[in-house]
């Protein structure tokens, strides 16, 4: 049997809008992944701590405030510092189309702005993990 994908769904920063994060967490779990949900108001450091401790392959960041660029940048930088850049990072939330290439350039594995279906999200995560 293939080992299930282990993923951390994380809410970085002060934003408390968690409907999307909780929906995707349930969907990924139903798709056979092992899902850890961070809860709200986590610092980037706390999220990376969790990712290391739980030994996840994937980190999914849910950001609704518009601060996705500074937060993601910080996540990627700190991951390099800690030598865990092998983990895949996905970003979901209120993400304008023009910011998607900026995030991809930073090194994220995929971006899911509002409106992307659960099916597409699951498929994209599975594909990226299997390539790895």
């Amino acid at each position: 049997m293939e080992k299930p994908v282990k993923i951390l769904i994380a809410k970085p920063g002060l934003d408390g809008h968690d409907r999307g994060a909780k929906v995707i967490a349930q969907a990924l779990r139903d798709a056979g992944m092992e899902v850890i949900y961070s809860g709200l108001h986590k610092t980037v450091e706390q999220i990376l701590e969790m990712a290391i401790e739980e030994d996840v392959q994937v980190i999914g960041l849910s950001i609704m405030t518009g601060a996705h660029i500074p937060i993601t940048k910080k996540v990627i930088e700190k991951m390099r510092e800690r030598g865990i850049e092998d983990k895949l990072v996905f970003v979901g939330g209120v993400i304008p189309a023009k910011d998607i290439p900026v995030l991809m350039e930073m090194g994220v594995a995929g971006v899911f702005p509002g409106g992307v279906s659960l099916r597409e999200t699951i498929k994209a995560i599975k594909e990226k993990v299997s390539v790895r």
């Binding site: 920063g13 002060l14 934003d15 408390g16 809008h17 968690d18 409907r19 909780k22 929906v23 967490a25 349930q26 969907a27 779990r29 899902v35 949900y37 809860g39 709200l40 108001h41 610092t43 405030t65 518009g66 601060a67 500074p70 937060i71 209120v94 304008p96 023009k98 702005p113 509002g114 409106g115 279906s117 659960l118 099916r119």
Partner: protein
């Protein structure tokens, strides 16, 4: 998002309609339905302005006064927000509703590491009284009601509002603030909580107790079914949980020995308009009736005016889509119609571009115009509760009433609202329902225009994005440093120490906070006093 389940045959004929709250809609309603539900005009409706207020709280409804329009406004620095306030007022808006940035909502100063990247982003940044002095400059605080969308630190912001009013020469007795101040719903949805459940409820109680004597025109709590619904609750659950949450705040104030008639009349509600329109209209009518009955029968409220469910019915955020954004303009118009047909006292609409951005001035004014059109052009002020007597609406209102009561009963059986929120029972329930809705949209069982039907996006409009201004954040931090340099440290230390003492001794914190604000203590300094004594809420697990 999608609003009802439709069972159809192979010819696309509808065989059954199941509303979110679980009610089946029949193809035709007749007087027999009213007989079946035991409809009694005097008992179930009564004339507008009469108990149980199903038809509305005023005898003349919008004839005596159109609704208050209160678009959610605020971003960047207090200067920028003040400018936007004045723009909205110049366009005929009759109330204000202040959006605060996340650091403010979470009790952090703009220079705190947790505030990085968020200063002034989703609302106005507030650090000290100086910011309120700028934001409310030239605003007639004795004339215009001001909603303050703040919860965990509502005590501090309300104290600051009093302090700025007094500074500008307005008597606290004349000002009318409506802090949102509903912390239990933050723990269910929206997530801007800080302190644990018990002290958080105590702080809500403090604002209610304090307003009674000091700011009698202020509405110290706006109970929000709205965000609970946005998180995945059904319309029946939205009302059920809102009433139970309101009761938790009432119980806190009653435990201090106050008479219910002295404060409950200032409660207000913030409820959601999105969904199947008939179900929402029935929901609002049933909610007015149940709230009045709850107060009369459970709490023995005597003054009829204190039985009113005064509501902001609006928003509709979850109903809006990113796909084909112009459709949201039409959705907003229908949502506004629902609010008007339901007798909202106050209203506000989510703007069509909110799935993309903070509303631009153009989109905010478009929402305001949508609301104004109904009142001034379409005849919604003509007569009160125009749908009353409809076989369908009256049957549905009665069925909604029953569904809401069932949902309340479930929570009471579980052990009450405080337990249901502390343990995460409600959070898990609404998250599961939210997931079921997404699955329904994906399978096509639930329909959403532009999302899973009529999805051709060609030629869809480009949404103009509100650009975050990094310079505003720097300016805000600089202004904070300046205030800190100019203020009397001794006064700050003294007032904060007195606040700490009051918190530890479980006194009403409001008068102490007003003193701290007047000494230009920062929001973060005041919040830290609470954090140290109370600790923080521990979020219950999702799985």
């Amino acid at each position: 998002m999608a609003v009802a389940r439709y069972i159809k045959d192979e010819k696309d004929q509808i065989l059954d309609v199941i509303l979110e709250s679980g009610i089946h809609v029949k193809p035709v309603y007749t007087p027999k339905d009213l007989d079946r539900i035991g409809f009694d005009y005097e008992k179930d409706l009564a004339d507008p302005g009469n108990y149980p207020y199903t038809r509305g709280i005023h005898p003349l409804g919008y004839r005596s006064r159109a609704w208050t329009t209160r678009q959610y406004t605020g971003f960047g620095t207090p200067e920028e927000t003040n400018e936007r306030f004045k723009l909205m007022i110049a366009h005929g808006q009759t109330g204000l509703n202040v959006a605060f940035d996340l650091p403010t909502q979470m009790g952090y100063d703009s220079d705190h590491p947790m505030a990085e990247g968020e200063v002034g982003r989703v609302g106005m940044a507030v650090d000290t009284l100086r910011d309120f002095e700028i934001a409310f400059k030239d605003i007639r605080m004795d004339k215009i009601g001001v909603g303050l969308t703040i919860n965990a630190v509502a005590t501090i912001i309300l104290a600051m509002y009093q302090a700025v009013a007094e500074k500008y020469g307005f008597d606290a007795k004349t000002i009318s603030a409506t802090p949102q101040n509903d912390i239990l719903k933050e723990m269910i949805g929206r997530g801007a909580w800080i302190f644990p459940v018990e002290p958080a409820i105590k702080l809500v109680g403090d604002t209610i107790e304090y307003s009674m004597s000091v700011m009698p025109r202020t509405n110290p709590v706006s109970v929000c079914g709205y965000h609970i619904r946005e998180s995945g609750a059904t319309p029946a659950q939205e009302i059920a949980y809102a009433i139970l949450i309101a009761n938790a705040y009432i119980d806190n104030v009653l435990s201090r020995g106050h008479d219910i008639d002295a404060f409950v009349g200032r409660f207000s509600f913030n409820l959601n308009v999105f969904g199947n329109m008939w179900e929402q209209i029935a929901k609002f009518r049933a909610a007015r009736k149940l709230w009045a009955r709850n107060l009369k029968e459970r709490y023995n409220v005597k003054n009829p005016q204190n039985l009113f469910l005064r509501g902001l019915f609006g928003g509709g955020g979850y109903g809006l889509t990113k796909a084909q954004p112009e459709n949201n303009i039409m959705r907003g118009a229908y949502y506004a119609l629902v609010a008007a047909l339901s007798g909202a006292q106050t209203t506000a609409l989510c703007s069509y571009d909110e799935a993309y951005t903070i509303p631009t001035p153009r989109s905010a004014i478009l929402s305001l115009r949508t609301l104004q059109l109904l009142m001034d052009e379409m005849g919604l002020r003509d007569t009160v509760d125009p749908l009353a007597g409809s076989y369908f609406i009256e049957t549905l209102t009665k069925e909604m009433e029953k569904k809401i009561e069932e949902e309340m009963e479930k929570i009471i059986e579980y052990g009450g609202i405080v337990k249901a929120v502390s343990s995460g029972y409600i959070q898990r329930l609404v998250a599961k329902q939210a997931y079921e809705i997404e699955k329904g949209l994906e399978s096509g069982e639930l329909l959403k225009v532009g999302v899973n039907i009529y999805t051709d996006n060609e030629g869809a409009m480009e949404v103009e994005l509100h650009e975050y201004n990094y310079a505003s954040a720097e300016k805000q931090i600089k202004a904070l440093k300046e205030v800190k340099r100019e203020r009397s440290e001794r006064e700050v230390v003294r007032t904060l120490r007195e606040l700490e003492d009051a918190v530890k001794k479980d006194k009403n914190v409001m008068p102490y906070l007003v003193e701290c604000c007047k000494a230009y203590a920062t929001l973060g300094e005041m919040t830290d006093v609470f954090r140290q004594v109370y600790g923080e809420f521990r979020e219950p697990p999702l799985f």
